[in-house]
């Protein structure tokens, strides 16, 4: 078991390196952060050159990549081998994300740090609810296969898969506003939670209630696609188990239906879900970008959108790397969990 874990952890290292290369190249090749400056005839060449130097755009691509990852780089030139050092604001391994095109006031690392927990909260809550509902409806569908309940749940699943997240989110958000105005409800329709200077009078309980209220509509919009995928998967997996010989044996022994379901069927049927959930994390990250922009959250999703609009290359690279790391870690956890949960898997 220990060897298996170590080997799996070691295997993550080349994947991380490849992911960093991918994130860097995608952004570095696809656009020039200074294109707007260059097109403006009123800006002197010297300031463009200064910006290039500040953003390390005067370096060659491979040097820039090394700088971005480690903070210093080995350079091969005609005169020999030299070492290039960054200005202390670059190098993922040193915890620096690189200089922002928006100037030195804008610290990419600080922004990501401030927004990270907020977005993680949204993704986490949506994941838990999607998973709970998916297991519930998947199991019901499987037990009552080809019944009306099954057809209704299956159709809801299909509908949810076809539903564009942004459309549903916009509808929910406007619906919240409409219901506040017309029906006098008190739904939180925008923002992540009440601004701190109002919230400082809150008791901890009120604060949690406020955060939960602001989470409600975005969570519903975000979890729908994940719910649809996972519930279909759960249904198929539960059906397979229910039709297996050992469940038939458990029934033949005369075990009560409840025990067969809980102890024998459901436990086995949950195992394959771990890897599907890990894959679904990527979908939730996609969704969070849309949801945050519609509900005007100050999270990583809106950070990503503003980074695209500002052509902030290092911010985008950092973001891609971060989401890549989340996906890789999720897959890692799923693999390890799988090994623990499924006794059929050999560790050797």
């Amino acid at each position: 078991m220990f060897v298996f874990i170590v080997r799996r952890l070691l295997w993550a290292i080349p994947i991380l390196i490849a992911a960093s290369l991918l994130a860097f190249l995608l952004i570095d090749i696809s656009g020039d952060p200074l294109s707007e400056l260059r097109e403006d005839p009123n800006i002197p060449q010297e300031s463009i050159a200064a910006e290039e130097e500040r953003l390390y755009l005067d370096q060659e691509r491979h040097v820039r990549y090394q700088l971005w990852v480690t903070g210093s780089a080995v350079e091969f030139s005609s005169t020999g081998v030299g070492v290039v050092h960054g200005d202390g604001d670059i190098g993922l391994l040193r915890g620096e994300f690189g200089p922002s095109v928006r100037g030195e006031v804008y610290q990419i690392g600080e922004e990501i740090g401030e927004r990270f927990l907020l977005t993680l909260r949204l993704i986490g809550v949506a994941m838990v609810f999607a998973l709970g509902l998916a297991i519930l409806s998947g199991v019901i569908s499987a037990i009552r296969q080809y019944s009306k309940v099954d057809y209704v749940l299956t159709f809801i699943g299909f509908l949810a898969l076809a539903m564009p997240t942004f459309w549903l989110a916009a509808l929910l958000q406007r619906g919240g506003v409409w219901s506040n105005e017309e029906l006098g409800t008190n739904l939180a329709t925008y923002g992540d939670s009440t601004s701190p200077h109002i919230a400082q009078d809150f008791t901890p309980l009120e604060n949690v209630a406020d955060i939960a209220a602001h989470l409600f509509l975005p969570t519903v919009a975000l979890m729908l696609t994940a719910y649809a995928q996972w519930s279909r998967y759960q249904r198929a997996s539960m059906l397979e188990v229910l039709n297996s010989d050992y469940v038939r044996l458990a029934r033949a022994k005369g075990l009560p239906n409840r025990v067969v379901m809980r102890r024998h069927a459901l436990r086995t049927a949950l195992i394959p879900l771990t890897s599907v959930v890990a894959v679904g994390i990527a979908g939730l990250i996609d969704g969070v970008v849309v949801i945050e922009s519609i509900f005007q959250w100050r999270g990583l999703g809106t950070f990503f959108i503003s980074a695209i609009n500002e052509r902030d290359a290092y911010a985008l690279m950092g973001w891609l790397m971060l989401s890549g790391v989340i996906v890789i870690v999720a897959n890692l956890i799923a693999d390890l969990l799988y090994a623990v949960l499924d006794p059929r898997i050999r560790y050797e």
């Binding site: 490849a18 539903m163 564009p164």
Partner: protein, 310 residues
């Protein structure tokens, strides 16, 4: 693929008419697929709905008097009327004309994505699965890489850049570049079992090249799963493109797409619902029908299925 019917009815001459009445009717492969597909009522309804939608998007503009552009003689913010059944936008565009153009752009992009990604993905998967060994390992690791960065995030990061531009085929190519990997996995799985079969061995024994085996023997026999995956990818691509345009990283004005229409009418969901609902419902309808068709095809193309209903 070799044709089994050749040996059955080839040189033996036509059977007498009364004998024909006794023997079971011969059916071509396409015919069999259609017969099995027809059993799925929902899939058949979906197919016709989708054909109607495609006709609406591609033939509609020739019949309808307004296109998606701004016209001086279209009133601003008109409610639905006989002249403009779904009303008009603030800048004076007819919503039906916009819907046609939007659906057309969405479908055009999605179908291109599906074709390109399927071509790359199935070749990639077939070569990896057939060659096996370290070639397979390396190729599938590269495919895994394409799955690490979430699809929409990757497409937006590149598509949002002005250097890449926002023409419809650029958007299609970017989406395709990040969505071929799942198809390659499917095809590799099928090829892994196909390559152990006798007809591949026979082809190898006759000295067929790798290229010939992959293109003439493996891919045609993996056609079923490939077609299903390609169909389902169309729905995914529609959603990605719509989201991209919604966030202003995709199709840009003066051109129009369904996602952009939702964005334009975002605040009108309750004040002018005729602007907000049609593009959203159209996206849902397209994706829903495609998913149902994909499900129907999955059953129809599975050769292990018999004509007997289980």
């Amino acid at each position: 693929m070799s044709d089994p019917q050749l040996t059955a009815s080839g040189s033996a001459g036509d059977p007498p008419p009364d004998a024909e009445a006794i023997t079971t009717k011969e059916r071509g492969q396409l015919e069999m697929v259609w017969l099995r597909f027809r059993r799925h009522k929902l899939a058949v309804i979906s197919l016709f709905t989708l054909l109607l939608l495609v006709a609406f998007a591609f033939l509609g503009p020739y019949l309808w008097q307004w296109d998606h552009r701004i016209h001086g003689d279209i009133p601003s913010h008109a409610r639905p009327s006989w002249d403009h059944p779904l009303g008009t936008t603030r800048s004076g565009q007819d919503l039906v004309g916009q819907l046609m153009r939007g659906a057309q752009q969405s479908l055009r992009i999605a179908i291109t994505v599906s074709l390109v990604a399927t071509a790359i993905g199935s070749l990639w998967g077939a070569v990896a699965g057939y060659l096996g060994g370290w070639v397979d390992t390396i190729m599938m690791r590269i495919a895994d890489l394409a799955l690490i960065v979430p699809l929409f995030v990757a497409v937006a990061a590149i598509g949002g850049s002005p250097r890449v531009g926002a023409t419809w085929y650029n958007i299609a190519l970017i989406i395709a570049a990040f969505s071929w990997a799942p198809i390659s996995r499917v095809v590799r799985g099928v090829v892994l079992s196909l390559r152990e079969q006798e007809f591949i061995e026979a082809a190898k024994a006759m000295g067929a090249s790798t290229r010939r085996i992959v293109l003439r023997h493996l891919l045609p026999n993996a056609a079923g799963p490939i077609i299903v995956a390609a169909t389902l990818l169309v729905a995914v691509a529609i959603l990605v493109e719509a989201t991209l345009s919604f966030l202003a990283f995709g199709i840009r004005p003066p051109d129009i797409s369904l996602g952009l229409m939702v964005e334009n009418a975002r605040t009108a969901a309750f004040t002018r619902p005729w602007l907000f609902y049609p593009p959203g419902v159209l996206i849902i309808l397209i994706c829903l029908t495609i998913n149902f068709i994909g499900d129907g095809l999955r059953d129809a193309l599975d050769p292990r299925q018999t004509m007997v209903r289980r």
